[in-house]
Amino acid sequence: MAPRSTLLTMSGITKSFPGVRALDGVDLEVRAGEVHCLLGQNGAGKSTLIKVLAGAHQPDDGEITWSGAPAVLKSPLAAMRLGIATIYQELDLVRGLSVAENVFLGHEPVSAGFVVRARRARTEAAALLARLGHPEIDPGRSVGELSAAQQQIVSMARALSHDVRLIVMDEPSAALDPDEVDNLFRIIASLTAQDVAVVYISHRLEEIRRIGDRVTVLKDGRAVAAGLPAGTTPTHDIVALMTGRKVEYVFPPRTPPPAGRADAAPVLTVEGLARKGEFAPIDLEVRPGEIVGLAGLVGSGRSEILETVYGARRATAGRVTVAGKALRPGSVRAAVAAGIGLAPEERKAQALLMLESVTRNVSVSTLSRYSRAGWVDRTAERKAARDATRTLSLHPDNPDTPVRTLSGGNQQKAVLARWLLRGCRVLLLDEPTRGVDVGARAELYAVIRRLADEGLAVLLVSSEVPEVLGLADRVLVLREGRVVHTADASDLDEHRVLDLVMEGSPTP
């Protein structure tokens, strides 16, 4: 690879918020045409750093050099004018506007100073989408109708609609299927070929190996390593740098079920459960102590099955039985009363009360237990919440902590603690490690396995095949809303699952 010129230098960037020093003298150097990966645990300062780069935060101290000249990024607009575009994890599109309107939001092509030239915007948007390999997205469509992957393409088209020289991507692959990730990487490759630099943030080390050129690792607001070669730095070195300790990135061993439990009656039985247009009738059983995994692509019906079992979606056929008792269909309350708990895919949107403390998040499903005639005994409530979060080693060990300040892994533990407290018998886990650091994942896996060992029946959904294979006892492989294969996890490997998942058309 030819030596490339330095495009951006950030040196000694410091940024404090009340009570926290988010960035403590970070250096970052990005060269034109490279994919520079930014790694770090949640709270390491990645988000703050890219917000400084996007002009959304003003650094307290430090210098930024852009193309060899000092630069001040005093607003998002100023950053954009220099050619820095940021694609945030939570996409910032306006759902009610069309694709073209979103692409040119804030810099619409106009005539006479204010009349929007809608047709020109549509043509140019179509050209950008074609350049991104997605000519099928209609610029006239409303963004709200698009899939998450398509919305990301629109976000990228918006970035490219400026004269962009650096694109920051914050976990762009989090919501994407493997083939969509491939397409994303193709786009990134074509951008770098045009000398555009990419700052790429991801928790997935294998992606960084595939497309990254160099890696900067952040920890506690400092860059602990800069410019490491992405392809050759050993994984355990990177993990050690991120966590500051050596971490065994492994799954807990499967323990043989204690005598008498191996052939225990299933606690969760699903018979012929179906939802028209989403998934075909499915049968499954989960025994106490067992972890059953659902593997499949986004859109294969994984999450939909979980939410239908839980009653959050109403089944069009079939039934769900917990310990021999059939559940009223379409009722979350019936499912919860029967002992089912759900840790949903979108933790912040579907599970957590972000304004509230850990205690109140944990206790929300068991309030009647610490209350008499509607009066909450707050001492008992807090003690119960603290006991439950301690068994999961939730950090920090203070039930008054606002839940929004926790890391992804600890937020997930707060959700699990809610169901533990409820004494639930069946745990439905939808993408339990999404947004969770590499270091914290192993811990979460151990927690899940321990809960199963203590007698819970666990139904797990994950888009990461190794996670399903490593954690589950039995795996159901889904394709387009149908179970195409069921096997013990030890009889499957990643290639076999991926083959099954993507194999031809549904009808042989």
Binding site: L352, L353, S363, D397, D400
Partner: protein, 341 residues
């Protein structure tokens, strides 16, 4: 009071031993937050202004009793509205519900049943109107803004139909007596006592009961609350019922205060109540609510009105001052919430 610790598998001995036992911060109940302090500060400044500009008239016992009495009617309405807003909803129909309840409770036919008839009718009308709001919003899936806007229009219309635009004089002396100084308890008007009782009930409901927790939960994240097993719809229904109940009580208080029922009663109460709740610190988007703040908001507004009236300033100046206070309070709020995240 002891409670069994409800743990299926959460005994601390089963998990890894906690490394450090952290001391907890000051108890929430004892902590007066910055926002409440600033509201108290504003109120103190207003009282000082009143005391300096009109020392005799403002600090007169009768005047202070009047200010508190006026604050009481809108205050009771504001307690209900605060609960609704905390749940992420809105109730635009409170003023119209007060009007409808006050005219229905003061018809000649109702007055024949005396004190009990008037009180019962006012409360019942408020509850029924609140029930209609609640059913439409919780089970009919009508947006709260639209459902209560429709209630605003139709309740006012019905009130006009009942009175034919005439003021209905109340002649039941046992009701009217409650407004006279003879019935004051230790110098405190009965209406103020009702307000205090409703405030205390609202505060306890929001801060100490499962009902309050669920209200905050659905206001903070309705989807998460539903997936946590909370009956979101029933909770919404109860909240609009409560708002209607508060309006019924306020209508009864208004009859005592004015000695009559009018279809124009409670005009623009919705604006005053929502504004008081917002400057008090309740989030319009839901998930955070404060009864204390709302009450302080009401007292601030009523004190301003009183000072302006004593200084012979026109009501247009009053409105401008109120508007400025709302903007200032919301600006302060968004500053503080920004530094929190």
């Amino acid at each position: 009071m002891t409670h069994p610790v409800p743990t299926a598998q959460s005994g601390p001995d089963q998990g890894p031993a906690p490394v450090v036992l952290k001391k907890y911060g000051p108890r929430r109940a004892l902590r007066v937050d910055l926002h409440t302090l600033s509201l108290l500060g504003i109120l103190a400044v207003l009282v000082a202004v009143g005391g300096i500009t009109e020392p005799d008239a403002f600090l007169d016992t009768g005047n202070l009793q009047l200010v508190l009495t006026q604050a009481s009617v809108i205050g009771v309405v504001t307690v209900g509205v605060t609960l609704v807003i905390t749940s992420g909803g809105i109730d635009l129909s409170v003023g119209a519900m007060v009007a409808l309840a006050s005219v229905w409770a003061s018809t000649l036919a109702t007055q024949e049943y005396g004190f009990a008839g008037i009180l019962f009718t006012a409360v019942l009308v408020g509850l029924v109107a609140g029930l209609v709001n609640g059913v439409l919003i919780a089970y009919g899936r009508v947006v709260p803004f639209i459902a209560t806007l429709a209630m605003l229009a139709s309740a006012r219309g019905l009130a006009l139909m009942i009175t034919d635009g005439k003021t209905q004089i109340v002649t039941v002396t046992s009701v009217l007596d409650l407004g006279l100084p003879d019935s004051y308890v230790l110098g405190i008007p009965p209406l103020v006592l009702i307000f205090a009782a409703v405030t205390a009930a609202g505060w306890l409901l929001l801060n100490r009961t499962t009902f309050g927790r669920r209200t905050i939960a659905i206001g903070g994240n309705a989807e998460a609350a539903r997936l946590a097993g909370i009956d979101v719809r029933r909770q919404r229904l109860y909240l609009y019922l409560l708002s209607g109940l508060c309006c019924g009580i306020a209508a009864f208080m208004l009859i005592i205060l004015s000695g009559s029922g009018q279809n124009t009663a409670g005009n623009l109460y919705e604006l005053d109540a929502i504004a008081a709740a917002i400057i008090g610190g309740t989030l319009l988007s839901g998930g955070r609510g404060t009864i204390t703040g709302s009450v302080l908001g009401v007292l601030i507004f009523t004190t301003i009105t009183n000072i302006f009236a004593l200084n012979n300033l026109q009501s247009d100046v009053q409105q401008i001052a109120k508007g400025a206070i709302i903007v200032a309070a919301v600006l302060v709020q968004s500053r503080t919430s920004r530094t929190e995240t």
